[in-house]
């Protein structure tokens, strides 16, 4: 045994072992290799840094901006950025910095809720369609195609109009329009898995179709769906902000970034900061998700670039 190898930190050696002793070790090793590749990509790491920063802002919002995002001060309306108000004040004299910081919570909430609603729906529909085949597959995939053929923003607009404006309904509307790609991905994965030996073995042991789909197929489709969701995050943020901008998403006085841009629209020519700064926040966060998603795809799916 070489001394260099022995002095290596134990964890790294354990992770990179060519003959892992347990399934857990092998899995960690693979994850570590993927991480090494990902961390070699500066753009992806920049994206990760942005998302970590977003999480920190969300967690420490009360510390970063101790004031309330709703506090009006009509004596100090539309003031430009200063030492007092870092990002200036809006038409009601509210501090834009405080509102942007607290708005991060709303953005994160929307993204997480849409992912929680849309990803399992798409996953379930895709795996069931792929595993069942035949008429079930045809029907489910046709429904998926109908939703895919729809213009997404217009559909979300019509849904949001039907359900009434509000942040919850915006989330539902976006989720309703974003599951089809996940169903497609999950179905493609399922078709590849369906005829493999371990599925046949499970079936011969008497496992019910529900058990096979939920316990054997879904876990294997999970990673590609997760990549897809990460790539979609930016799109979700932009759609939510667009709905907010049109007045169909979060309602005032909630500090949602899209609605804040809309509020600043009337003052853009004289008071540029009111609309510009929340827009920059939207841009940075969606750029973060795009950079990370792009890097993840390069690492985990080298075929498709």
């Amino acid at each position: 045994m070489s001394t260099a190898g022995a002095t290596q930190p134990g964890l790294r050696a354990w992770l990179l072992a060519s003959a892992p002793r347990s399934r857990w070790q092998a899995r960690c090793g693979n994850a570590y290799l993927a991480w090494l590749k990902l961390s070699a990509n500066p753009l992806a790491m920049a994206g990760l840094a942005i998302i970590v920063a977003l999480l920190l802002v969300v967690i420490f919002a009360p510390l970063l901006a101790p004031g309330t995002p709703y506090g009006q001060n009509l004596l100090h309306r539309l003031e430009p950025p200063s030492a007092e108000n870092w990002f200036g004040t809006d038409q009601l004299g509210r501090d834009i910095y405080t509102r942007v910081v607290h708005g991060a919570q709303l953005t994160l909430m929307i993204v997480v809720l849409v992912a929680i609603l849309a990803a399992p729906t798409g996953l379930l529909i895709g795996t069931v369609a792929g595993y069942s085949g035949g008429i079930v597959d045809t029907v489910l995939m046709r429904i998926t195609d109908v939703f895919l053929a729809f213009p997404r923003l217009v559909l979300a607009l019509a849904f949001a109009a039907a359900l009434g404006p509000g942040i919850e309904n915006a989330v539902i509307a976006i989720a309703l329009t974003s599951w089809p790609p996940y169903a497609r991905v999950a179905r493609a994965e399922t078709l590849a898995l369906r005829s493999s030996d371990f599925i046949a073995a499970a079936r011969l042991q008497g496992a019910s179709p529900a058990r096979i789909v939920l316990r054997h197929i879904v876990p294997l489709c999970l990673s590609s769906v997760i990549i897809r969701v990460t790539l979609d995050m930016a799109g979700i943020i932009l759609t939510a902000a667009g709905l907010g901008f049109l007045g169909l998403g979060a309602q005032p006085p909630l500090p949602e970034w899209g609605a804040m841009v809309a509020a600043g629209r009337d003052f853009i020519l004289d008071n540029w900061w009111v609309a510009t700064i929340p827009g920059i926040a939207i841009f940075i966060v969606s750029l973060g998700f795009n950079l990370l998603g792009d890097g993840l795809r390069d690492v985990l799916d080298p075929k498709q670039r």
């Binding site: 109908v146 053929a149 213009p151 359900l163 930016a234 799109g235 629209r265 939207i282």
Partner: protein
């Protein structure tokens, strides 16, 4: 030599040609029809679940009970749901989406009036996206991993991340208010409006037909900013897809063969490889065009552009649902049509898929 030109060696068997093609065409038509029916179902259902009383929207909230009852009967709201759907379908097939309460014109007339403005915007933006995006993608693929590639990639990622409505506002602030390079919102300056006959509804063409060159150039200065902004989104998508198609093509053996034959690099890349990459690109361009039609919703709001998107949102805020559903239906129809077109074009252009 002919084999080398064929990028994929697996050529389809000639024997089953016609029959296979027919069944494929039947399949395509079937799926298009199904999507069309789905579109009808979804817009119909949205119209039913809306918490707006369609009768009140017509008669107003101070109508007498018997007027209310009569309108309710005229709208067939007491009939069973399947019958209402049947009525909806027959009407939609005749282009009848009801009347708009706000403009008090049939919705279809409004749509025909507003849609050309959206088409003008989306078409010019797609042209811009193709003219810059395709060469940019080719250059990126050619220099894979080097700075031109990173630049195109970064520009694309920014395009995917910027909120279009914000870019529009900032663009207006910088290029209209501060620099004065372009005109502001709307399609024309106020004093030019309603001079040119709306022959096609597209301002550039109408002005050129009427030989009103002042109006023509005024229309260009109004179009410049929204077209550049939408075009940037189209560019981001098209350059990225071109890059990945070109990388795939440049790795093929026929490219090596063409190089070995002594063809110039320019010819190999721009003629042979791009020629083959253009096939899947047709689909990408059609899709990007379709997404611009809907991306126009936000852009039109920012630029006060009298197009279909603004018509839909304006009606939405006035609780005028017929235009919303009719507009959604028409945009969906355009989506289906463009998908079908790209499918057919792909089959016509690519002999292998026949």
């Amino acid at each position: 030599m002919t084999e080398l030109r064929n990028p994929v060696s697996a050529a389809p068997s000639r024997g089953a040609g016609a029959g296979l093609w027919l069944s494929k065409a039947a399949n395509l038509i079937f799926s298009v029809l199904l999507t069309f029916v789905g579109l009808l179902v979804v817009t119909f259902l949205i119209g039913r679940v809306i918490p707006i009383d369609p009768v009140l929207a017509v008669v107003g909230d101070r109508a007498l009970p018997d007027v209310y009852a009569r309108v309710r009967q005229e709208l067939a709201l007491d009939e069973p749901l399947y019958y209402q759907f049947w009525l909806y379908v027959t009407k939609a097939l005749h282009g009848d989406f009801g009347k708009s309460v706000i403009t008090s014109r049939p919705v279809i007339e409004d749509i025909l009036r507003y849609f050309p403005a959206t088409i003008e915007l989306a078409t010019l933006a797609t042209l811009l996206g193709v003219m810059i995006g395709v060469p940019a993608g080719v250059v990126a693929a050619k220099n894979q991993g080097r700075w031109p590639d990173q630049l195109v990639r970064l520009l694309g990622l920014i395009g995917y991340s910027v909120p279009v409505f914000w870019l529009g506002l900032v663009g207006l602030f910088v290029f209209y208010s501060k620099l004065g390079w372009v005109s502001g919102t709307g399609r024309l300056d106020v004093y030019y409006e309603d001079i040119v006959d709306p022959v096609t509804g597209m301002m550039l063409i109408d002005a050129a037909l009427a030989r009103e060159w002042d109006i023509f150039f005024n229309a260009i200065s109004h179009l410049a900013l929204p077209v550049s902004i939408l075009g940037y989104y189209s560019l981001a998508y098209i350059s990225r897809m071109t890059r990945s198609f070109m990388i795939e093509q440049l790795g093929q053996e026929y490219v090596t063969a063409a190089r070995v034959k002594g063809l110039s690099e320019l010819r190999v890349v721009w003629r042979h490889a791009l020629g083959n990459a253009m096939l899947p690109l047709v689909t990408v361009i059609a899709l990007s065009y379709a997404s611009l039609l809907e991306g126009a919703v936000l852009t039109e709001t920012v630029f006060a552009w009298p197009g279909l998107g603004r018509y839909i949102t304006d009606s939405l805020f006035n609780a005028d649902m017929n235009p919303v559903l009719g507009g959604t239906f028409v945009v969906g129809l355009a989506f289906i049509g463009l998908n079908l077109l790209s499918d057919v074009l792909y089959r016509v252009l690519d002999p292998r898929s026949r």
